[in-house]
């Protein structure tokens, strides 16, 4: 079987702090990590490769330094990796990103399934997976909490939705987005780490994918960000300090709608 896992390098949002005076993000010293949700996608692909045989190829679109997440994936057990990187790809929205990733999947050829994490923690859109499926004109199963069965020509998976679980069977090739419920990702092995140190990761750019500048990056993106701002401060109200009795009396007034005179 030929599996592809699409991963993304993201800033660790848990480490992002706000400069309250200027109201901007402080990115200095914020570590870049593999999007945590992608580790479940990688594990799921490797789990089925181990069962059925085949290869797991990890791809990412990003700047040259995004190579580090591909090496991390190889140290965890992926077979090979491709960095999709070109100046022309910068500033892509989910349409242009998925257009580019789909071109890479087509270039790889004969892929049985593409695994994505549920969403990336920086953009939080969850749009790239389904959009790649549309580009490839493949079926998709999103929000997969459990893959029940995977064979040469079909997959049965549990999709966790608001009101319960949908059990979905689909033809291959397919695009999946994986939840953290699906598995427990393995840790990098010593052998994997050795391999990741030596491996040469190919870089595919605009020409390799036979794409044009008009359909990638900022130019190819139908949406654009026009303003970014820190969330509007909701003006703080009155802060009460005092004895427990005073505080309780005031809070009871408010909760029971009795007013301060009550």
């Amino acid at each position: 079987m030929k599996f592809v896992v699409a991963v993304k390098q993201v800033p660790d949002t848990a480490e992002v702090r706000i400069d309250s005076e200027r109201g901007t993000l402080i990115r200095d010293g914020v570590p870049s990590i593999m999007n945590p949700f992608d580790t479940y996608a990688l594990e799921e692909a490797m789990k089925w490769r181990d069962e059925l045989g085949g290869v797991v190829t990890v791809i990412t679109m990003g700047p040259p330094q995004a190579e580090s997440v591909l090496k991390e994936a190889i140290s965890m057990g992926a077979d090979d990796a491709i960095l999709i990187s070109d100046r022309a790809f910068a500033g892509a929205d989910t349409w242009a990103t998925s257009h580019t990733l789909a071109a890479a999947v087509k270039e790889l050829g004969d892929v049985d399934a593409v695994f994505f994490g549920k969403q990336a923690i920086d953009g939080d859109t969850a749009q790239t997976g389904p959009s790649v499926a549309a580009s490839l004109d493949w079926p998709q199963i999103t929000f997969v909490g459990k893959v029940r069965q995977l064979s040469q020509n079909s997959i049965t998976a549990e999709r966790y939705v608001e009101t319960g679980t949908q059990v979905v069977r689909s033809e291959l090739p397919v695009v999946l987005t994986i939840l953290k419920d699906a598995n427990v990702p393995r840790v990098p092995s010593l052998r994997g780490k050795m391999k990741s140190r030596k491996v040469q990761i190919p870089v595919w750019g605009l020409a390799d994918l036979a794409l044009t500048e008009d359909e990638t990056g900022l130019n190819g993106s139908p949406t654009k960000v026009v303003v970014t701002a820190t969330p509007e401060p909701r003006t703080g109200g009155q802060i009460h300090e005092g004895s427990t009795e005073e505080l309780v009396a005031k809070l009871a007034d408010l909760l029971l709608g009795e007013g301060s005179e009550g």
């Binding site: 992002v16 200095d28 749009q127 679980t165 654009k224 009155q238």
Partner: protein
């Protein structure tokens, strides 16, 4: 490049913007001025960072005006739960009415195996037109038929705006529609408005774990499409005197074609609470210390007819179940009253509750960030205040 970053003469070359730029497109030149490279994505993060207001992003909005003008009205995708429209659908219709400002037609598309419980409710809640796509195979949501019906309806009716809920349904099918129609989609919006000058839909959403709010436009293509976070927009009061047009869509073989099948649907056990429906939410955080202490909040919630919520810290510690989690990775609530107990008020929590009508907070730390945005704050020990509050309310009720 559609637009450019302007660096004004007031630039002092202080270098703050260089550190802020996520794509390393800025540098300081020999004469102490910022310069921008072609790596700039016009993200605007540097604009806010500049203490001298020396930076400005100028967008050139593209698009063929004649082509864009062919599109009008707003289309809402209805989501069905147990034979009726989901609450999120009413919120979308309410928001569509607000955006319409009495000028744009609001249509609702319902894809189902049985629309009998939906059409009137949709009209009473603000729909001018209901488009029914009814087929026995449309019992459970499935990507391909929903995509086919949506793309067909959009090509037929040319709405300028399409709204769907940012649920597992909306977030599954809408990106597919976006690629099928080659137009933009903005995920999980928490604020929508029409720009009075350009008439474009300004779509605002949280990113970076809620640390920033990004406003996004889709300027060259139509429709402009958004998924909208449930629990943020307000539905309108149903008006039983409203009337509307009903259109029955002819279902073609193409629309029912599907390479996936829903074999089975297993509903979640029925006793699950829905904190998004409660008028009063009392949430506990890290300060609750253990699962037993949540009984204090349950007692109070019971007295007030409310329900108990929690911060991510409390859920991650296993003190309370995940469906009660409020915030970025949990649910968004907008009750009449929100009481935060032992919650510091991190941004990830705040984005899930800041639309509440009033927010009260109890925390022993005077510097907790929750006190910066609550309506009224109470500095004290929750283990003294909450039991005493329960007694006080019981006493007053006697």
């Amino acid at each position: 490049m559609s637009g450019f970053l302007e660096i004004k003469d007031s630039c002092t070359g202080c270098g703050i913007c260089v550190k802020t730029c996520p794509v390393h497109a800025l540098s300081i030149n020999d004469v102490k001025k910022a310069v921008v490279s072609e790596d700039c994505t016009l993200c605007s993060i540097c604009v806010d960072s500049c203490p001298f207001e020396s930076l400005a992003v100028h967008h050139s909005f593209g698009g063929n005006k004649e082509e864009l003008a062919k599109y009008s009205g707003i289309l809402v995708l209805c989501e069905m739960r147990n034979g009726s429209p989901d609450r999120s659908t009413y919120e979308l219709i309410g928001e569509a009415r607000k955006l319409s400002a009495g000028e744009k037609e609001v249509s609702v598309l319902v894809i189902t195996d049985d629309a009998s419980g939906a059409v009137e409710k949709l009209i009473q809640s603000g729909a001018d037109k209901v488009i029914k796509a009814v087929h026995k195979s449309f019992k459970h949501f499935s990507t391909e038929p929903w995509n086919s019906v949506l793309t067909h309806v959009i090509k037929e009716y040319h709405p300028e705006i399409v709204l769907a809920a940012a649920t597992t349904t909306g977030r599954d099918v809408m990106p597919r529609v976006s690629k099928s129609l080659d137009t933009g989609l903005t995920a999980d919006c928490t604020e929508l408005r029409i720009d009075p000058d350009s008439g474009m839909l300004m779509q605002t959403r949280p990113a970076f774990g809620g640390n920033i709010m990004a406003t996004i436009v889709c300027d060259r293509t139509r429709p402009q499409m958004s998924t909208v976070r449930p629990g943020v927009m307000k539905p309108m009061e149903p008006d039983t005197s409203r009337t509307g047009e009903i259109v029955e869509l002819e279902i073609t073989a193409e629309m029912v074609k599907n390479r996936s099948q829903v074999l089975e649907f297993i509903p979640t056990a029925g006793d699950e609470v829905d904190i998004t429906e409660a008028e009063i939410v009392i949430s506990g955080g890290r300060g609750m210390k253990n699962p037993e202490n949540f009984d204090l909040l349950h007692d109070l919630a019971h007295l007030l007819g409310g329900t108990v919520g929690a911060s991510r810290a409390a859920v991650d510690n296993g003190w309370i179940e995940y469906p009660r989690q409020v915030g970025q990775t949990g649910k968004t609530v907008q009750p009449a009253t929100y009481l935060a107990v032992g919650i510091s008020g991190a941004i990830q929590h705040r984005v899930g509750m800041q639309s509440s009508d009033v927010i009260y907070a109890v925390n022993k730390d005077r510097d907790a960030s929750i006190f910066e945005f609550c309506t009224e704050g109470f500095v004290g020990d929750l283990f003294e205040i909450i039991p005493a509050l329960v007694k006080e309310i019981e006493k007053r009720r006697k």
